[in-house]
Assembly symmetry: C4
Homo-oligomer: 231 residues x 4
Amino acid sequence: MLEELKERVCEGNVALAEHGLVIFTWGNLSEIDFEKKIVAIKPSGVSFEELETEDIVLVDLEGKVVEGDKRPSSDTPTHLEIYRNFPKIKSVVHTHSTHATTFAQALKGIECFGTTHADHFFGKVPVTRKLSEEEIVNDYEANTGKVIVETVEEKKIDPLQVPACLVANHGPFVFGETAEKTVENAVVLEQVARMNIETLKVNPETKAIDQALLDKHFLRKHGKNAYYGQG
Amino acid sequence: MLEELKERVCEGNVALAEHGLVIFTWGNLSEIDFEKKIVAIKPSGVSFEELETEDIVLVDLEGKVVEGDKRPSSDTPTHLEIYRNFPKIKSVVHTHSTHATTFAQALKGIECFGTTHADHFFGKVPVTRKLSEEEIVNDYEANTGKVIVETVEEKKIDPLQVPACLVANHGPFVFGETAEKTVENAVVLEQVARMNIETLKVNPETKAIDQALLDKHFLRKHGKNAYYGQG
Amino acid sequence: MLEELKERVCEGNVALAEHGLVIFTWGNLSEIDFEKKIVAIKPSGVSFEELETEDIVLVDLEGKVVEGDKRPSSDTPTHLEIYRNFPKIKSVVHTHSTHATTFAQALKGIECFGTTHADHFFGKVPVTRKLSEEEIVNDYEANTGKVIVETVEEKKIDPLQVPACLVANHGPFVFGETAEKTVENAVVLEQVARMNIETLKVNPETKAIDQALLDKHFLRKHGKNAYYGQG
Amino acid sequence: MLEELKERVCEGNVALAEHGLVIFTWGNLSEIDFEKKIVAIKPSGVSFEELETEDIVLVDLEGKVVEGDKRPSSDTPTHLEIYRNFPKIKSVVHTHSTHATTFAQALKGIECFGTTHADHFFGKVPVTRKLSEEEIVNDYEANTGKVIVETVEEKKIDPLQVPACLVANHGPFVFGETAEKTVENAVVLEQVARMNIETLKVNPETKAIDQALLDKHFLRKHGKNAYYGQG
């Protein structure tokens, strides 16, 4: 069932490797079919090179496998927590991409220092608080999802306008309206993180860009008055 | 019409991606036919991989499309502002290349620290002031061009001798006498920016090179007494 | 004899080059057949591009060549010292990979700053003390092995749980249960070292992650209660 | 004449590009035939991709072209100055490779921080003083060679034991006994420079390695008691 969904999810996972965001079996992409309330996700511990459409696992929103021979990604409860709380999100990507993970390890969000960031993320990309020992020991992966939801809600972020959240000491989770768009967001996040580090080297006093410039760049590409692209 | 111009512009845009200066749909290259007063430019939001000669849009110097089915780059008014003010410039490139964009984000120009820079840029590459809220809200892309023109003129720069300007919080715009040469200038700018950052790590006290060395290297490659190359 | 062992060792050495961990003739991989007490290792000074299975040298645990036309790696005594002292280790890799070597040169171990590290290394990757002049002049390569053994034992490390040790002023030696797994550990070590350097740039106050998170990530992938992968 | 020499020089120049040390027309490699006192060198301003054996120019030690249709590299007088003063040197490479050039721009030599350096360079790689205005204006390229010779001689360096010198504000010149070996030295120099910068980030107090370790590593690969490789 849901063959096209599984194909898109397989292609999206392979694209993560092609863009250099993941190596070995690190990272995973899922997409949800909201009508059927079913999520297609990468199987656990399978390398991106060997991944095929029939390996993709279908689970319901409680995590029960409804199709597939393999175990779903160990991060599945994190993805489900995100889908249950943000109905706008259709796809979730998790990577350990070098520079975005660096910010997660440093417990710092990624400030908007330029229009590359503003074209894709409508403001600072947040980092979660650290999980408590209790949250780590019991239901770790679900609690990882809960702390993402908590962070996005506390900061009153629209998760399609700032489609990423860094999990403290861990790495980025990225959101989107399609698997393809979510992969793109993950690529941009990595590039923005990389340039942010370099920018602070050139000028440690660099501040976030003005709101007017942030509005201009984000809204010329997104929303009802967008005029970028072929319309 | 102007098929050769459109071919060069298509090839130049593709070359930006091949040199690693652009990903997805970021960046654009144009070239002007000064006799006909027509500019050939990349269409908006089309990926470099899919770009073909017939996608290239022809516009006049007021931005009216004179040939092509697609919308021109949203940065077209910036390119036109540059062409209208600097008749020597035949081609303009805009990228978000990593290290040049870093300097734009840090609001710093790129000092000439060595002969790699001096071989291509006859002195410091300038950065513009930030645009005002008014300039951002109304006619943003044209105002981006105007602040480039203002910066080049204020600093009394010959835009073919220092063929690039960094737009604050945004990224580099690069100039040249041909599309091919302008792509080369964009590659060199990125490399010079990268080495500049590394140089300041090794020696934070590094100063710009002496004028005599700058003169020697720039003028052995450019101008009437040049003796580099096959003449 | 031991054709399969030699094939795996040849493939493992070639994989080091494919992963970008070694260039020219730098670095080497070996694997031991514990029953026969024979080690298969790369020949000295042969480039990874030209390496073939029949070039792999077989030596006994005292370093005597038991098969092969070529001299074994000049680092052979280091490998043997490790095998003699840690019977759990089945394969050893030595590289000069950029960022792991950087830590060795800086005389610093690699702290665990995130779950990428915790997934593969159960705590800080140690660095040895510097060798004394006496240890350098006589039996240098064996003494390199001895200082690795000393470091692992002093810190009460299980060398399969923290499967790497940095030799001061030199570079990483990496361990594993198979040649393939040891190559993977060497790739991860390089990536972890790279992200560690970047993390300290973003936040110089970064501390090692909490023990609970380290336990969670290492033990969900390793040991009897592991639940990562396809089981 | 000297077809084999020209072939080696062509291949060596192409190898510089393949190793990522040069782009466009930056950099050049030459080799000398000491018996005939003739130097084969890259032509000026020809890209590495298009270079063919018949493009290689033969010049005598005074710089007079003895064969070839093209102008020799504008850096030819620098190469000749080196050959005239150091009869041991059979090949010279000049690049603008990123990290080695960084040190030249920062006016800093490259300290020996580890065995990667010690395996190829028997101590610190020196940087020249800056050229005077007089030296820049008149006979710039020959004076660049003279300041290299001056630096090597002042520091009492054997130019085959420390086969490189950084020209202040410019970039590296690298030496060797064959074109192939000189290319390798240029690759190693770039890698050593890169790791040196990273090492100072991890530990700004890093010191050069002990003399005993420098001796051990350099002399196990070079000289009459070398025991690295296949002998």
